[in-house]
């Protein structure tokens, strides 16, 4: 397959991000934005030390972010390793919260396609509603774009056959430049996955506004050319509500309101929820509460 690549101007991206960050989200817009952000979170735990009990606690938080305040939305999903999908599925039964599983030799992706497909099948078999796969960055950097594309297409096929949604993690922190981010986005988008996602959260550099802007622009172009809507998930490094609102402004201005729901936009985060909750309560009551009023799960 031939990929026609788009030049990206780093300075231009920075200028646009600065304009977006200068937007002031106040009053009703802030109230609505914070609830929207909470509802878009993929509450994540991806540690070697994860246990079923830990995941159960997180699942309760996902369904009941802060019971002291009525009418709060739940988060969008719980994101765990395949081994813990069954636990999460049981714990979340009867709720709208989805179970997302990382797969395909997460986080490095250094494995064979067979193993990756096997892991995907396992996660789906355990009950995952969504799979977060990683691309083979080594192959990408070596210029083997067709390999990267074929791999995504193969995993997608397994997901689609079981009505499972697929997120493709580019691990942008390993790609080297915004131009490479655009290139990787275009390759992933060609396969029409359900989401493209910035990062694993396992390396130093995770989601940033510039990287997200470039990926959103790629999504917009893909939509213009094919009519296929693909979602976006910045993940890692987003821990405060103010930054989350800047992401939402960016989505609105680049893609439009159609993307502003958890069907098409997610935050991959473990700490963001509490800061959003703190801000929501500040909006409701006018005062900030101590951080210990919010559960750390």
């Amino acid at each position: 397959m031939d990929f026609a690549f788009q030049p990206v101007d780093q300075m231009g991206v920075m200028d646009r991000v600065a304009r977006i960050k200068a937007r002031s989200v106040k009053k009703e817009a802030k109230k609505q934005g914070l609830r929207m952000a909470l509802n878009m979170i993929d509450l994540t735990t991806l540690e070697g030390a994860d246990t079923p009990k830990k995941v159960e606690r997180l699942c309760y938080k996902a369904m009941h972010p802060h019971d002291k305040l009525e009418g709060l939305p739940s988060v969008a999903a719980i994101c765990v390793y395949p081994m813990l999908v069954g636990t999460a599925k049981t714990a979340l039964e009867g709720s709208d919260v989805k179970v997302a599983s990382v797969a395909t030799a997460f986080p490095s992706g250094q494995s064979t396609l067979e193993m990756k497909l096997q892991e995907t099948d396992f996660a789906i078999g355990e009950g995952a509603d969504e799979v977060d796969m990683v691309i083979s960055r080594g192959r990408f950097l070596a210029g083997d774009y067709n390999y990267v594309y074929d791999e995504i297409a193969a995993v997608l096929e397994r997901c689609r056959s079981q009505s499972v949604r697929l997120k493709v993690i580019l691990e942008t922190g390993e790609l080297g430049s915004l131009e490479e981010v655009r290139k990787a986005s275009d390759i992933a988008l060609k396969a029409n996955p359900d989401f493209i996602k910035t990062s694993t959260g396992k390396i130093g550099s995770a989601a940033t506004l510039p990287v997200t802007l470039v990926m959103l622009q790629a999504i917009a172009d893909h939509y213009d050319q094919t009519g296929v809507q693909v979602g976006m998930k910045p993940a890692g490094g987003i821990s405060d509500a103010k930054t989350a609102l800047q992401y939402l402004v960016m989505v609105k201005e680049v893609l439009g309101d159609r993307w502003l729901s958890n069907e098409w936009f997610r935050f991959g985060a473990s700490r963001l929820a509490n800061d959003v909750l703190m801000q929501i309560i500040k909006q409701e009551t006018g005062v900030y509460q101590n951080a210990d009023h919010f559960t750390k799960d």
């Binding site: 788009q6 030049p7 990206v8 101007d9 300075m11 231009g12 991206v13 200028d15 646009r16 200068a22 937007r23 002031s24 989200v25 106040k26 009053k27 009703e28 817009a29 802030k30 609505q32 934005g33 609830r35 929207m36 509802n39 009418g71 709060l72 939305p73 739940s74 709208d96 622009q217 213009d224 939402l248 402004v249 609105k252 201005e253 309101d257 159609r258 502003l260 729901s261 958890n262």
Partner: protein, 482 residues
Amino acid sequence: MNMSKTSWKLSEAPEGADHIQLAKRYELFINGSWTAPKAGTYFKTINPATEETLAEVAQADKDDVDAAFKAAQAAQPKWQALSGAERGKYIYRIARMLQERSRAFAVVESMNGGKPIRESRDIDIPLAAAHFFYHAGWADKLEYAFPMRKPQPIGVVAQIIPWNFPLLMAAWKIAPALACGNTVVLKPAETTPLTALLLAEVIEAAQLPKGVVNIITGDGQTGALMTAHAIPQKLAFTGSTEVGRKIQEAAIKRNKRVTLELGGKAANIIFDDAPIEAAVEGIINGIYFNQGHVCCAGSRLFVQESVYDKVLLKLKRRMDSLYLGDPLDKNTDIGAINSKSQLETIDRYLKIGQEEGAEMYQTDCELPAKGFWCKPTLFTHVAQSNRIAQEEIFGPVLAIQTFRTIEEVIGQANNTPYGLSAGVWTDKGSKIFQLTSALKAGVVWANTYNKFDPTSPFGGYKESGFGREGGVHGLEAYLRFE
């Protein structure tokens, strides 16, 4: 619980204006003191977004102009005799005080001129302060800037500035003049006198020696009296080409030096290998910055045919995301048109464009009931011979043309009586160099647009004027050499 899809709109986020205390009436700032106009005439200055009166300002007449120039003349020898380091100290002081009062300056600039607070706060006021800082640094280094040429001040300078960047243009004019040892009589534009008067308050508080800077207000007649006056040895003007011509005539009659920064009809050129997203952002910044009231606005867009549809689609989408409304709202991208008469001019061109057969697109935003407003507009199917592609509109109106080859677009871009600025968008470095040397424009931006810096000279070719402002070149305009 899942949230249903809703549309999400930014709420109002107005910058507070409660701390602004404008006087009911402003006098003339002559010889370091606030002086009532001899004839006792005042005129109202309004907020173009609300049409409410903000203050009354004095109309300077013959006697007042005369008094201002005499004050400047009397102050000049002493000012020149000060060491460069001493002059620099005063200029630094003005720069710092501007920074300290930047919030008030930004709010007043937006109230009086209609520009969005985002621009006055982030661009106009910081750049104005930067110009004073930059030129303060030159004051004691002129000998090094022009070695072996013995730079001397010109003397008394008459400066007339426009309404699109009121404080910034005052800074562009006053800062280099002072650094070079000249004294000044400056007149802000009729519709936007307030920040220049606040600057006079800063100059007063900075204890600049009396008469070194005189700021007088008035209309075109006051300007004519200034250019016809015997004292100033130099006229510096920024504004329309039409008035620029008259000023040049006046200068020739009395053998005065003159620098003119006049109109423009800049070409913004997009090649098919350009970073399209950045280019679209550049088009938006190029033409909708300050409601298009920018002499170097990228008002003619040339798009290579193979990317025309793509660029147009993205451009319209980005236009639709712009917020038009209250200039004091922090989210406003497009503020009010500066004056009723300017709005009439723009509307006239919108009509002409449609009559000429061009296709008009405007975003579907609501216009406030009061004040002067124009929706962001673009024209497609524009011919080179259309008036909207030839004449300066000075509003948020973009004329789009297409091209096939480099040679073709160079020809089209240069085929205008103006030559102030241009923009080039391509990923290819060699193409940038080819164009920058072929375009007859004083400033050529590559893969960016409307970027300003005090270190960089600004000025035009052909009917866009002559002389440079900013950088070492800008100093030269305020010096003579023995």
